[in-house]
């Protein structure tokens, strides 16, 4: 599974990354988690604001900090599906 946390590196983006790692640990799922901090990279996803969370190439949320429960649900949706 490929997870991308989009954001230039402020505290809100760090919080999303932390919650994503928490969700993965709670589900005991392994994933390739990376942060995208450069503007060109963030823009290619077309999100309407940061922070953004992308799982397997699908934008799951943007411009807000999702809860750990939400992230767990999205990871559940993507488990077993191939990454793009």
């Amino acid at each position: 599974m490929e997870i991308r946390v989009l954001g230039p590196g402020c505290a809100r983006c760090h919080e999303v990354e932390k919650r994503t790692l928490n969700a993965l640990a709670q589900l005991d799922v392994a994933a390739d988690v990376r942060k995208v901090t450069d503007f060109k990279g963030i823009m290619t996803y077309g999100i309407p604001g940061t922070p953004g969370l992308v799982i397997n190439g699908k934008v799951k949320c943007a411009a807000r900090i999702p809860s750990v429960e939400e992230i767990k649900r999205w990871i559940g949706e993507e488990i077993g599906k191939p990454s793009d």
Binding site: C10, R12, E15, P48
Partner: protein
């Protein structure tokens, strides 16, 4: 932090400890001024102004849906609406300064194009809710209002000018719009959200109500009962929180308030210390003699306003730090006009943000935008300086 960075920090601390002439009375005085200004902020601005303001900022980031505002910036958006929303939406979208540049890049490449994008880029940092509240509290209501009004008006003018200048040039790739992101959270009715924000702002205004001349009967009466008003409103707010909000929403609110506070307070306090060291409290001198400041940016000449705009455009101000720095400059003899020029050019531009803007728009457009900001800030400063005098 990498080991190399730690080494550089330690080396800088050592060199400062070795070489700074602490025995010099001027340096001792400047250090005392820095600490006294910090104490001034801690005593006067933190509890009643900054902490409530951070709760409002936190609430905005949790309870106002950014996506619902962004839809006005789509490629098909009506232009008039896009400009209007761009000029004011910074107050709710740009609480965190790091959100302005990604949003600007998004509006420019995927949405309504160069006009609304630059309008947002200009007004965003200047009218975010924390900046307006602190400007009005520390620098006076007149400069606070002038800053907000100037930022909104100028953002529309700059956006329209950018659109007119570059209307013929191709935009590059066709605007594709933003991806739609489903948001499964339950929404509360707009009226409830509005009432909730209204009560919070009313509390903030009430408890910061300034003492006025007893001859202004109504204002003075409000001042006498401000704690009563604030207390009643706090009870109303508590009732709303219990009845209208789920527990996890309240936890998110507290958390995002804490994130802002954690991010902004250290920078602000560093800014206060530096400003106090260099410029001193109002009425006192720091390490820089007041007459230098007065010679450069005193009065309301063209030179003073231009210098303030250019300096502001180049300097990087972390969120809110422009306020203590400006307070120091005003105390050292800066004119009201140059102060507004610096407020209008400063937070909107800095060397780092110029580089990002250039990366997004290209050199020619970036330079045009920078020139527009500097020229318009100078003009606004001169007009305001004349009115204020």
């Amino acid at each position: 932090m990498s080991e190399k960075k730690i080494f550089v920090v330690l080396l800088a601390a050592f060199l400062a400890a070795y070489f700074v002439p602490f025995a010099d009375p001027a340096v001792q005085n400047a250090i005392a001024e820095a600490l006294l200004l910090l104490q001034d902020y801690a005593r006067q601005h933190v509890i009643l102004c900054l902490i409530p303001a951070f709760f409002i900022a936190g609430a905005i980031s949790v309870f106002v849906s950014q996506a619902s505002v962004i839809k006005y910036f789509g490629p098909q958006a009506r232009k008039l609406l896009a400009y209007s929303v761009a000029s004011v939406s910074g107050s709710i979208l740009a609480v965190c300064s790091c959100t302005v540049l990604p949003l600007f890049a998004g509006i420019y490449t995927r949405g309504a194009g160069i006009g609304p994008a630059t309008a947002f880029l200009y007004s965003g940092p200047a009218i975010n809710v924390l900046a307006i509240i602190l400007t009005a509290k520390v620098l006076g209501i007149r400069l606070g209002v002038a800053r907000a009004v100037g930022a909104v008006a100028f953002s529309v003018i700059i956006g329209l000018l950018m659109h007119l200048i570059f209307r013929r040039a191709p935009q590059g790739a066709a605007a594709q719009g933003f991806v739609a992101v489903p948001d499964a959270r339950g929404e509360r009715p707009l009226a409830k959200t509005a009432a909730y924000f209204g009560v919070m702002v009313a509390i903030l205004v009430a408890i910061n109500w300034g003492k006025s001349d007893p001859s202004l009967a109504l204002w003075y009466f409000i001042y006498r009962v401000k704690w009563l008003i604030g207390g009643v409103l706090a009870l109303v707010l508590a009732w709303m929180l219990v009845r209208w909000f789920r527990k996890d929403e309240l936890r998110d609110w507290t958390l995002s308030t804490w994130i802002f506070a954690k991010q902004i307070f250290p920078l602000l306090f560093a800014g206060v210390l530096i400003s106090g060291f260099l410029l001193g409290r109002p009425g006192h001198e720091g390490i820089i003699p007041g007459r230098w400041v007065e010679r450069l940016v005193g009065g309301n000449s063209l030179g003073a306003n231009l210098f303030a705009s250019v300096a502001g455009a180049l300097m990087y101000f972390a969120t809110l730090t422009e306020v203590p720095i400006l307070q120091g400059l005003l105390g050292s003899g800066m004119g009201q006009g140059p102060a507004l020029a610096l407020l209008l050019a400063g937070p909107a531009l800095s060397l780092p943000s110029m580089l990002v803007i250039r990366q997004v728009m290209g050199t020619g457009r970036a330079l045009t935008y920078i020139a527009l900001v500097v020229v318009m800030s100078t003009i606004a400063g001169m007009i305001f300086g004349r009115i204020a005098a």
